[in-house]
Amino acid sequence: MSGYSASELMIVCAARALRGVRSVLVGVGLPNIACNLARRTVAPDLELVYESGVLGARPARLPLSIGDPTIISGARSVMPMPDLFQYLLQGGRIEVGLLGTAQIDRFGNLNTTVIGEYAAPDVRLPGSGGACEIALHARRTIIITRLSRRTFVEKLDFRTSPGHLELDGSRPPSGVARGGPGQVITDKALFTFDPESHEMCLQALYPGLTREEVCGHVAWPLKIADELSVVEPPGENELAIIREQLDSGGMYR
């Protein structure tokens, strides 16, 4: 891979996945840059919504956290937290939720709570925050995480945020019209979910990677799409926007 980093291609892939989307619930870091790239390319009407209650932010600097004061000044709206969770999320107004994770299983269920036993964890992770509700109420979710066997596990240590639930007999709460996880974007490949079985499925490889290499990073026997494709590398315009406007510090270079 030359001319761009795997992180830059992740950003580009996440941005492309937001084509035509109008409302996205987003965190900071790489997903935030992806949303800003999408707004400048494939989704000009995209409204970024932060879990802190901010809509239509116009940050003057790269925000360090979702509560950074730079996202308040010049925003279109700042909602108290009950409004965000009751009306925007539970009210079904969020089209896409972007989620990160420490563990993911083949049905897109996520763990951000503990590694090991809950009562005596090896690693205590942050927990749900709003992730559980974003997973349940966004009309679809896109999961962004790096590909490794530690993350892509056979069985989660804890289920924090539901993926495609109906597989194990669980059902989403009544009155929730959700599509669940639609895509998983990693630094090596892209995955979708089979419309029938809801199982994660390798859809596209990053240039230069083989399916064997990707399968080696996944703890279960991975389903592979009939028409496995190769991801289109970042275009000049996409790279220029990232490097000149969104990541001028070069954190993802």
Partner: protein, 305 residues
């Protein structure tokens, strides 16, 4: 009208007792470290600490040994990483065991709403297909009496004391805030006693000139404390930025329990009050945290005679 203005030491001594449930709220913004440090200095023990995002403020309180339990929904150093002191307590019982009562953000929001409105529970469409109800028996499912389907419920939360930071209040406690409002209003109404801590104490007429900006009416406020920079190292919109350097330094030093105790000694126990803490930080560091100006256009409420 009652004058509720008191100093921080008296407010904590009067309202925060061992074994109580305490909520120092504020979502990234408005986190009252001045109150937390005073609680540590006064040696409170056995507190149950409620907060959606425990942040550095509860990491420090847990390290200082004031807490027996956390009620929360996201354990992280926002934008930086982990809360190492809380992790040490959970993973290794250092300085002692810490009981956890864990929700999602919406669950915590619902608990405060139920608390504020004196409801027996708050229904929310959440938790189906997650492991949270398994580890927290307070999260339950009931039948919707209209549709017959199942819905999750969480119980009300009634903190004994809430400590809420804001830009300004009058001496009766009518409190105005702008920026990330989080659950500040809900916590105030849910709690038995409310201490507001403000950057500016203003005349009643300043409040009356913009009544829509009043987030917490003095009616539910017990004490007003005036502490400029009282939320440092978190921030107050329009007054000062988050001191990200301190958040990042905490990530490093808090990995070592001995260094944390040394930090608490130097920055909490050995300083008399928040003013002494600010003096120790130095005026130039505080000056650098002040933002430029971005005033709102003024609005006209009209005069109706």
């Amino acid at each position: 009208m009652e004058d509720k203005l008191v100093d921080m030491r008296s407010a904590i001594a009067a309202y925060v007792q061992d074994g109580m449930t305490l909520a120092i709220e504020g979502f990234t913004a408005f986190i009252c470290f001045a109150a937390a440090h005073e609680i540590i200095r006064q040696g409170r023990r056995g507190l149950t600490l409620a907060r959606m995002t425990p942040d550095l403020v509860y990491d420090q309180m847990v390290a200082a040994g004031v807490a027996k339990k956390l009620i929360f929904s996201y354990l992280g150093n926002p934008g930086v990483g982990s809360l190492h002191c809380i992790r040490r307590a959970v993973e290794h019982s250092i300085p002692h065991e810490l009981e956890l009562e864990e929700y999602s953000h919406f669950g915590m929001v619902g608990r405060y709403i139920a608390g504020a409105s004196q409801l027996p529970f708050y229904p929310l469409r959440s938790y189906s297909g997650t492991d949270l109800p398994r580890v927290n028996p307070a999260i339950r499912f009931i039948a919707d009496p209209y549709e017959g389907t199942e819905i999750a419920v969480v119980p009300p939360l009634h903190p004994d004391v809430a400590i809420l930071h804001a830009q300004r209040a009058d001496r009766q406690g009518n409190t105005q805030a702008w920026g990330i409002l989080g659950v500040q209003k809900e916590v105030a109404f849910a709690s038995r006693k409310v201490i507001v801590v403000v950057e500016d104490v203003v005349d009643e007429e300043v409040i009356r000139a913009d009544p829509n900006r009043t987030l917490i009416p003095g009616l539910v406020v017990d004490a007003v404390v005036h502490v400029p920079f009282g939320a440092h190292p978190s921030y107050v919109q329009g007054y000062y930025d988050r001191d990200n350097k301190m958040y990042q330094e905490w990530d490093d030093l808090s990995r070592d329990a001995d260094r944390v105790q040394a930090w608490l000694q130097e920055w909490v126990y050995a300083v008399e009050d928040h003013q002494a803490y600010l003096d120790k930080l130095g005026a130039s560091r505080l000056e650098r945290l002040k933002p430029g100006s971005a005033p709102a256009h003024s609005i006209d409420y009209g005069v109706y005679r």
